[in-house]
Each structure stands twice: as C-alpha cells, then as structure tokens.
Symmetry: C2
Subunit: 354 residues, 2 copies
C-alpha cells in the first residue's frame, strides 16, 4: 500500500502530520504559511502535533514549489584580509535577522573563480552580494541579469551598489601630512582593477597636487604585508618622508620595512593606512582612515533584501547607489617631517623601538 501519511521511515512530512491530526495536507501547510486563513483551534492542533513529531519543513521541496530559497550568497576576494571579516559578519547577521542563510565564497582575488562560484551559488540563492569585485563590467551585468545582485566597493551603472567613499578622507590624510611639513609623499596602491584602489590613488594624486607636489605612486598588486615591506626600498630611494598605503596591511608592512632599516616612525617617517582594520591593535597605533566595513556589509544585504522583496512585488529596480563616508583617524604613526636637526630623530627612534 502507498499511504502517504504512513509511519514509514524518514523525517516527518506535512502528509504525516495531516494524517495524525486528521486534516488535509493543505491545512497543515496553511497552518505555517497562512495561519490567518484557518480557525485558531486548527492551527493550534497542527502546530502542536508538528512540534510533537519534530517536524521540519523540507526546504528543497519548498524551494521547488515556490521558486524562492531563502538564501543569499556573499563572495569576497579574500576572507583572510582583515577588511572582510567585519563585513561578512555584519552581512550574515543582517541576513539572519531576515531569516536568510548565507553562502560564503572566497575567490582568491581571481575574477574567473568569482564567476565560477557565482554560477554555483546562483542555482540556490535568491540574490548575491559581490564585495570588491574585480570582474569586468559585462560579466557583472550578465550575472545581474540572472539574479538580483548588489555590489560593494565596485561602481557599475545599473547595478545596486554600496560604496565606501575614502576619497575625502584620503585628501584629509594628504593635507594632514602636508601640514606636518612633508614635501614628498609616497602612495602604495592596491590591486589595479580594484575600484577602491583607483579611487584612493586618484584622491591622493589630486590632493598632493593641490599642495604643490607629485606623489610617488607605487603599484603593488595584492594588498599584503609583504608588498608593503618590499615597497620601502623604493619609497626611501624616492626621498619620501611619508607614505599613504592602500590599506592597513600594506601600511603595517611598510612599518616593518622601516623598522628593519632603523627608520623611526613617526620621528623620521610618517605612515597612514586605510580601513582601520589593525589600527587599534598595533603599536605604535596606526594613523589610518576608518572605513565602515561592517556598515557596508549590513547595508548591502538590506539593500539586496529590499530588491528581492520589490522584485517579487513586481516593482522595477531603481539604480541604487549608496555611499558610506570614512574619516581620517590620527593616531601615532604620523608626525612632523624630520628637520635637519638630529635631536628629534634620535628621540623618535627610541619611541619607535618600544
């Protein structure tokens, strides 16, 4: 016999509960999805029986029937880059608060892997968030056509996006250094295809020119400690007395490179980071630009969920573009440009060695 509500193996289904309570499967389904259509008494009987039996909705069956999954995907270039964990965390919490589960993907800075991951995820999510994507615009548009998509720190027309605006704070940083008497400033950049890096490089150049100088721009590729450390040679060869780094990791590498060459910070050299991912836990505390990474993650997910809600309500998506401000945080790695007098630098060296 093929009794659908039979006491067969496996986890309890809607049919099972229905046969136990003595109602139809449809009624059980409604008890969860649309309780207002049922008499309170029936709802009560169903839900208590469901709890009794340890019923759990089969998400695959539900997704198959409704076309909705209750999942979103988040793809980042590198989970281990300290900029992303707070963003991931906030995104996950925002999604969780709305009852969504989050797939996480790490593409290792490679656009091709990003596309592969997105394809894999697309089949079981309602939408995606791409953080700091370095994929070409047409690839992003193609993905956006398939599923609702929100970008973080990537500016593509027609795709909803959340941008952390560091340009203003970058200009402040340069002004801060100029005010301290620094004439020659280096900028150690990030990945060439990164929107953030392009934005920051441009801002530094403009600000430096306003102060009557040309920055020494060092292309750096991946934003890592090692890259910063290696850049120190050229920075010093270029006669710079201060450096602005693409992010704190690079800045910290610069700090290490300077320390190993006996250059004291901030006595002989000033360093500014970006993102404030390490500033509070390094010594000396890093002057940096505080970027609201967690806010960006949260806002991106909230935006995506809004897009999902409105698209299922038939509305047409607008060209959303959120901009989050950052600000310069002056700590202890910036100071007056070294003068020709020697007393200052020796005092600073002692501080730097602490």
């Amino acid at each position: 016999m093929s009794d659908t509500g039979g006491t067969g193996e496996g986890p309890p289904t809607i049919a099972k509960i229905a046969s136990v309570v003595g109602v139809s499967p449809a009624t059980v389904s409604r008890a969860f999805g649309h309780p207002e259509l049922l008499s309170p008494a029936t709802v009560e009987r169903v839900v208590s029986a469901a709890r009794e039996l340890g019923y759990t909705p089969n998400s695959a069956a539900r997704a198959l029937s409704t076309g909705r999954h209750g999942n979103i995907a988040l793809i980042v270039p590198d989970i281990a880059n300290p900029f992303f964990p707070p963003l991931i965390r906030a995104a996950q919490q925002a999604a969780d608060a709305a009852g969504f589960c989050v797939f996480l993907g790490d593409c290792g800075e490679r656009p091709a892997r990003e596309a592969t991951l997105a394809d894999k995820f697309a089949a079981q999510v309602d939408g995606l968030v791409l953080a700091s994507s370095r994929s070409p615009a047409d690839g992003i548009h193609a993905l956006a056509r398939r599923r609702p998509l929100v970008l973080v720190n990537r500016d593509v027309d027609g795709v909803p996006r959340v941008l952390i605006n560091t340009a203003g704070a970058m200009r402040d940083a340069v002004a801060h250094l100029a005010g301290l008497g620094h004439k020659k400033i280096a900028y150690v950049s990030g990945p060439a295809s990164s929107w953030s890096s392009q934005q920051r490089r441009k801002a530094v150049r403009q600000a430096a020119e306003q102060h009557g100088t040309q920055p020494l721009v060092l292309p750096a590729g991946e934003p890592t400690y090692a890259v910063g450390e290696k850049a120190v040679v050229k920075i010093l060869e270029g006669g710079c007395t201060a450096a602005v780094a693409f992010d704190d990791l690079v800045a910290q590498g610069i700090m290490a490179g300077l320390a190993s060459r006996g250059v004291a910070v901030p006595g002989q050299f000033s360093v500014v980071g970006c993102d404030d991912t390490l500033g509070a836990i390094t010594y000396p505390p890093l002057t940096t630009i505080a970027a609201p990474a967690a806010d960006a993650g949260r806002v991106a997910v909230e935006l995506l969920l809004r897009v999902l809600a409105s698209s299922s309500a038939g509305e047409r998506a607008r060209d959303d573009r959120y901009s989050l401000d950052s600000r310069l945080v002056v700590r202890a790695t910036t100071g007056p440009a070294p003068s020709s007098r020697s007393s200052r630098s020796s005092r600073a060296r002692r501080a730097g060695a602490q």
Copy 2:
C-alpha cells in the same frame, strides 16, 4: 495544451532540452549523471544542446529527488576573531574543491544562537562543521543525530573532531620563560566553556608547577584586545614578570596595557600569545604559538566529506579524532627576566595606583 517542453518562460529545464533534442527527459538526466549508460553520440547531442540553451540544473529539484544537497554549513563563534578567517577560508576551499557550497554562520559566542543556526542550516545541508563550539555535549549529540557533524577544537566522544593541540607548545612556552629566569607567570585565559582555553590553562598550570611555581590565572571571558588590556593591572599587582595569553588578541591587549604604563617589552616584561594570528604583523613581533588554523578547517571539511561518502555507502562512522600539533615561535616579546636590581617594587606601586 500542456506541453512540458514548450517554449514557455523561465530557465530551460531537462524537459525542454529533451524536446529540443528529441529524446526523453530521462536520457537528458542520464547524460549528466550517468553518461556511461548512454551512447557517446547521444551524450554529445544532449550536452551541446544544453550548453546552447544555457541549461542549469535546478538544485532544489535535484535535492528533493536525491535527498542530497551538495552543501555543508560552517558555524563559528566570531568571524571577526582573527583565528577564524584562515580556518573559514581553507574550509571553503576544501568544500569547493569537492563541489560543495558552504553556508557560514556566526553565533556571536552564544550557544543558543549556534543551535538556532544549526537548525536553520540542517534543512539544506548534508553535514555541518562546528568550530570552537561552546554548546553542551548533549546539544551537540542531538545535532549529530540529525546530520553528520564534525567539530573543531571541541572534544566530544562519538563525534568526529579535529583538535589543535596546544598543550605541548604551551608547556614549551612556560619552559622558555622559566629558562629566561621568570619566576612568576600570569596566564590570561579565554572563554571558560572553550575546550581550547581549558586545555591551555591546564597545560600552563602543570608546566609552571613543574618549574616550581604557581601561575596567576586570570579568567577573562571573551578573548579580546580590551580584556587583555584590562588584565594588566592585576598581572602587575600579582608581581608577574611574564604573561601567557589565551590568544594573540589578548596578548596584544596586554602589550598595549603595558605600553601605556611605561613597562617595556621585552626589557621589563615578557609576553607570549597563542594562535599566531597577529605575530607577523605587529611590532615588536609577538612570541606566540603557531596554530594550524587553516589546516584544521581543511581537515575538518575533508573529514566531513569522507563521513558523508561513507554514510551514503552504508558504512558506519568510526570515532574519528584528529590532533594537529602546534609549536612555539619565539620572536621579540620575550626576554630575560628583569634583574632584582631594577625597581620592581616601584613598578608594582605604580600599577597599584593605576
């Protein structure tokens, strides 16, 4: 008419491809899942048509039919704790290599949230990895009964687990400090319900006793920078000349607390961290215990996948228990104990007034 393969809207389905190629839906399905059962020519026709139409398997339908999802879940106490990103990254990569997608959950150190997340995930994953779980053992067993489960840094009988063994390295750290002449050592612990913290506290205590001294154990709750900083008062009051911290974050907090009180490291005080999450990017470089977090993530996922494969093959799970070794890495925050000539009493007085 109700032509299943009609040119209706929506993404292409197996039925659609079948009608285009002129074969049955079953054949199309087999072309992907069991090509060896088909004539090469048929396979070729099907797959090319599928590519042509941009066919993507509907994962919900597949999961409903097979009972397998191709997903796993990873739950951690705090994504932003630098110990976890490398673990998450390695886990994601290992899963990806096997064609699995990863759900990520952050329970914010709260066992209740861990259980809630696990429930939500359980419906759409084939198995789960719980990292540093602080849930009671019976809760973990209950979850393990529902889905294949692998633990990281949590030792529960009968549940497959991957443990990072820091006990040996902790003893080495204490021996290292004792060898440098330190008589009184503080241990700033982590979350009380954390297996790692219990293991480390015990190891420090045993090793200290072997060297003829009792460590000052300071309970610290959540492993954060702030906690380490706050612990400094009691550390100095206790007359310690060295501290071992539950992790690098706490150690870095201790460093900051010492610096703000004018205590020089390693001149007047020695600090040892654990996990090696920050060691290479701080200044001075932190003496710490290198823990293979990434290995743990990778091994945990590989173990889970093996469990999944063998359970679908009908085999019974064994009581797997992997132990990964760590080792002491001496950098620049440990040095000889200050000689008794130096003003130990004045330093203690200053700390007490603080």
